[in-house]
Subunit: 262 residues, 2 copies
DNA sequence: GCAGGACGGG
DNA sequence: CCCGTCCTGC
């Protein structure tokens, strides 16, 4: 068995205690973090190594974005794709040593406020990012798991109100289509939805701005775990730790985890 | 008996727990705070009222400076002097109801880095502030206690190194002379030095920048309690709570307290 | 070394 | 609402 988790942590330095709590209580074999918001030399490498996560692949930058994959089992860093070609730290790819398993940790751009590439360059960059990921996915020929904050909630049951979010970045048809092209480019299996099928409610993010997140439950599923078909067939368990949204000084995202029989 | 305390708190919102701890453990009748760093409607009035300090005179502004006097015994706000005439919240004067006692809570400007009014306007403003306080003091004709952060350490034993601080703002001869003029203008009695006579070491502030503040002990006496002569004769006790500098997330100043037989 | 504020970003 | 960074002030 191998368990892999993904969590947009929204500053790993500020939320190191939460990461430690999650690792202590749930002990995944591998944890993929997004939005670490620090440079590599500022990453709390030692604190996580002391908890057994001594194998680490960190791709950071100053202030924004940044991803890190930490592991209890040996991993080898393979790639750092720059799908925007602008130097932003949004991906790190590793191989799980001796298991014929590749793990891609990605943080897709949020895309700004206005869902129109003519008036909002960030929205265009997000679509371009997804198109380039699709082109890359087309060439993937190894058992691969790609996880992270995709910043798109594709299904109606991935958002608290399909109707009210149709023109809100993360749930617009043009983004969903781009994400679909990316998924079909490799035949990725959406593990989350294998285990929590549509039309069941499935969210991984609740905005800080909406108070009483639990009562109002205005969530979205922005975080995903997608696997190559053969690998997806080996997924045995999947979970969403909603309670982490209630921890002290929480991230606005919660961790997802999948257990594989590999 | 009536006990009066003064404390530069360096943001009362951030350090409300420390104020509460001080009030719970030492229970002065009146506490004068400086550098509350908030507007009046942001002052934690209710939390302090719940501890019995329901009588409050608050003079605040956005972000900087600001003073507040909170009391367990009835007080009446009398004045808000603007000795710089620039709108900064640096003083509030109250009367202790039924005791013929006036209490002035003041935060003198720090004065910038360079002790030269030609090149540093803030230094000039500080000297002007002290001169205007002197003019005001000349007209004080009631039993008055003036306390607060005067931002001047007048005596050699008020600083960790007289020689090394002679050209450092807070201990320059020109500031000491201005403070002396202010003191003589009313015949104020320096209560701190009545109880801890020169040349005994007496500090109330240790910079955040100097690490190991306790070991290196690079302190200064910037906070003072001065009384009209007749009132000073009724002072029965005086204390400096140095241990407060070691509390969690401390202010760089510590509280002073004086007990009066009034 | 630590405050608060203003900014850009989510 | 909550990050980081940069700025000012002490």
């Amino acid at each position: 068995m191998l368990s892999v988790a993904t969590w947009n942590i929204n500053s790993v330095r500020l939320r190191l205690p939460l990461v430690q709590r999650y690792l202590a209580e749930h002990a995944p074999d591998i944890l993929c973090l997004q939005e670490i918001k620090c440079q590599e030399d500022q990453f709390p490498a030692q604190a996580l190594a002391e908890m057994g996560y001594e194998h680490q692949a960190i791709c950071g930058q100053k202030g924004y974005h940044g991803v890190a994959t930490v592991s209890r089992v040996p991993i080898r860093e393979i790639t750092r794709h720059d799908w925007q070609d602008n130097g932003e730290a949004r991906h790190v790819g590793i191989e799980v040593v001796g298991r014929d398993l590749f793990l891609e940790n990605v943080y897709v751009p949020a895309g700004g406020d206005v869902p129109d590439r003519e008036v909002n360059v960030k929205f265009g960059q997000k679509l371009d990012f997804l198109e380039r990921m699709a082109r890359w996915a087309d060439s993937v020929d190894k058992p691969t798991l790609i996880v992270g904050d995709f910043n798109v909630a594709p299904l109606e049951s991935d958002v608290w109100s399909h109707k009210q979010l149709l023109k809100v970045v993360s749930h617009t048809p043009i983004e969903v289509e781009a994400l679909d092209r990316f998924r079909h480019a490799h035949g990725w299996v959406d593990i989350g939805r294998e285990h929590v099928p549509h039309p069941e409610r499935y969210y991984s993010w609740w905005s800080y701005r909406s108070p009483d997140w639990k009562k109002n439950d205005r969530g979205r599923r922005l975080d995903h775990m997608w696997a190559s078909p053969a690998l997806a067939a080996q997924a045995r368990s999947h979970g969403v730790l909603e309670e982490a949204r209630n921890w002290e000084k929480p991230s606005d995202h919660v961790p997802l985890v999948t257990g594989f029989d590999v």
